[in-house]
């Protein structure tokens, strides 16, 4: 039986972490040099708007009171107004989230499918020339700045060969109706290709190396030796016993990788002008649009924390040693 109690405990714990991150965010934006009110009030707002915001965020009150107002606003999903877009931050962020998620998941799924298979293969071919050559190459992909890889791919496939567009999610003048229509269109997919490939190349190293080293560890386990002594076929030994056991931590790493990836997206989205959370964060910070920056940061943090939680739950669900006590 799945342990509900343990899961609830973990959720509470991560709730605590979320609260801490929110608090750090509050302090960061309030204690920054200069006028703390600048975090919420654009000097170009009309006086009326300024007063309304002052009241909403209690900016005339002492810091601790502001903090509680800030928390109360957060709980209601109230993140303030973007200076640049003159629209609620929450709406803006929720509109950008799908773009980021689709890029993240597409690239990670590619990376994991490739990484798991290649990792298992390299473990199986341990000591061979292929393995000797592959590992340094994989380590090198982990050492690349993602945005640089994106730049190289852009220079080659977009500017030189002209196979893929250079940025954005759709070509000018196209309209695909709703989101589903957009995401399934060929135009969108050709825009997605390069950024997804960039992130996939960077990310595949993690599942690959993890799968390989887990496999190598599992292959040393007694139960694998026993499977051989039982006369089971090589396929059964390697796939059903070694790979099945090695896969467990790789699966849970997927969720954590989503969290990591989201941070890496910040640069890759900028290179490919991909209208996602990361690029929005960068632009907002550059343009001193603090409410928007704060909101984007918060959203990314929430996904990171959520993914940490999912990783734990996944682990508990997949490992019988945790599930069946």
């Amino acid at each position: 039986m799945f342990q509900l109690k343990a899961a609830v405990g973990r959720i509470l714990q991560l709730g605590l972490v979320l609260w801490a991150v929110v608090t750090i965010l509050f302090l960061m934006f309030r204690l920054m040099p200069g006028n703390p009110m600048a975090a919420y009030i654009d000097p170009t707002f009309t006086e009326e708007q300024q007063l309304a915001l002052m009241a909403q965020f209690g900016l005339d009150k002492p810091l601790w009171e502001q903090y509680f107002i800030y928390l109360a606003n957060l709980v209601q999903g109230e993140l303030g107004q973007s200076f640049r877009y003159r629209e609620p931050v929450a709406e803006r962020i929720l509109a950008l989230l799908p773009n980021t998620l689709i890029l993240t998941f597409t690239s990670l799924i590619i990376a994991y499918v490739f990484g798991v298979l290649a990792g298992a293969y390299l473990a199986w071919r341990r000591g061979s020339a292929v393995e000797q050559a592959a590992i340094p190459v994989v380590l090198t992909t982990r050492a690349m700045p993602e945005f640089w890889l994106g730049m190289v791919l852009l220079a080659i496939f977009s500017f030189w060969l002209g196979w893929f567009p250079a940025g954005g999610t759709r070509s000018a003048g196209t309209d695909h109706g709703n989101l589903l229509g957009l995401y399934t269109s060929a135009d969108f997919l050709s825009h997605l290709a390069l950024p997804a490939l960039t992130l996939a190349i960077y990310s595949q190293g993690l599942p690959l190396l993890l799968m390989r080293s887990n496999m190598l560890d599992v292959m040393k386990e007694d139960f694998v030796t026993m499977a051989r002594i039982k006369g089971l076929s090589n396929w059964t030994v390697v796939v059903r016993h070694a790979a099945r056991n090695a896969l467990l931590p790789v699966m849970t790493s997927f969720a954590i990788a989503v969290g990591y990836q989201l941070q890496g997206n910040v640069v890759v989205e900028s290179v490919f002008s991909w209208p996602g959370l990361g690029r929005e964060l960068v632009n907002a910070v550059s343009a001193s649009d603090y409410p928007l920056a704060q909101g984007a940061f918060l959203m990314i943090a929430i996904v990171v924390i959520l993914m940490n939680l999912i990783a734990d739950l996944l682990y508990a669900l997949l490992d019988p040693r945790v599930t069946h006590v």
């Binding site: 991150v21 390989r212 910040v266």
Partner: protein
């Protein structure tokens, strides 16, 4: 006490022995060689670089030496759109990389090791507190955090170091803590307790020498992280414009349409340099791949 003075050389040699540098692994050797070249380049940058990296150069015909291809007019790697020597920028870029890499790695390894040691050895409420702090650090998205921090603080390469010290100790701290937990249950640590050794003595004599290799491994990984982070931050335009770094060069190239101009000589070399230095750290720690993703090593 005279005894400690005598014991010191032995301790030092023991510490170095503890690092167990993998000199029979060709990739590790390659990594060490890359590090050596990198460090030498950084130290002698002024002697190696033919020009000041920020100086705007002119050709013999007194034209702006802009967008020259490699080899033209004697510029080994060509020039930028503003007429600066790319090769000199590469050479000087190694300075900021070294500076950031080493200080950040040192901070991360130091803080992580101390947290891990204290948390693992003493346990109890200190452990609970430190590990909750680590949980929080794991909840902070690192790159966005650096961006926001860099935006609020004066542009400086130290922002990256500061941010890394604030956040990235978590990985090192956790792993070292679990290592300390195993060590603490070893018979010889218990034996030292029974023999009446103080906590300080047990930590310095029996535990620290065993975790030093791990700190070192994390340090070399952190060098790579620091350089990559600085590159990302500079690329996004939050770097220190007065300091030439590889990330700054890439941003300059990207913003100056180098991709469309097919100016590979401009944006490829800095990338290669970053890859070389970062992968050097990975090569040295090869065989310890698990430490690349500590959160997963349950």
């Amino acid at each position: 006490m005279s005894e400690t003075v005598i014991a010191r050389p032995a301790l030092v040699s023991r510490l170095f022995g503890a690092l167990r540098l993998p000199i029979n692994d060709p990739f590790a050797v390659a990594g060490l060689v890359i590090y050596a070249v990198f460090v030498l380049t950084a130290i002698f940058a002024d002697q190696i670089a033919p020009y000041d990296p920020t100086e705007i150069l002119y050709t013999e015909e007194f034209d702006l030496a802009a967008d020259l291809r490699p080899g033209e007019q004697g510029f080994v790697l060509g020039t930028t759109s503003l007429g600066r020597d790319i090769f000199s920028q590469i050479v000087h870029g190694s300075r900021s990389a070294l500076l950031i890499g080493v200080t950040a790695a040192f901070m991360v390894a130091l803080i992580g090791s101390i947290v891990g040691l204290v948390s693992g050895y003493f346990g109890g409420w200190i452990d609970a507190l430190l590990m909750r702090l680590a949980d929080i650090a794991f909840g902070i998205p690192f790159l966005p955090f650096v961006i926001v921090l860099a935006a609020f603080l004066e542009p400086s390469i130290w922002n990256v170091v500061f941010a890394m010290a604030l956040v990235l100790w978590r990985d090192t701290g956790r792993v070292i803590r679990s290592q300390v937990l195993t060590l603490r249950s070893r018979g010889y640590v218990e034996a030292a307790r029974v023999a009446g050794s103080s906590n300080l003595k047990i930590i310095t004599r029996h535990i620290a020498p065993n975790i030093l290799p791990l700190s070192f491994l994390y340090g070399s990984i952190a060098i790579g992280w620091a350089i990559l982070t600085e590159a990302s931050i500079s690329f996004l335009g939050f770097g220190d414009p007065s300091q030439i770094s590889w990330g700054y060069m890439l941003q300059d190239a990207f913003a100056s349409q180098a991709l469309a101009k097919q100016a590979y000589y401009w944006f490829v070399p800095p990338g290669i340099c970053i890859i070389l230095v970062v992968s050097a750290g990975f090569f040295i720690t090869r065989g310890y791949e698990n430490i690349l993703f500590p959160k997963l090593g349950r």
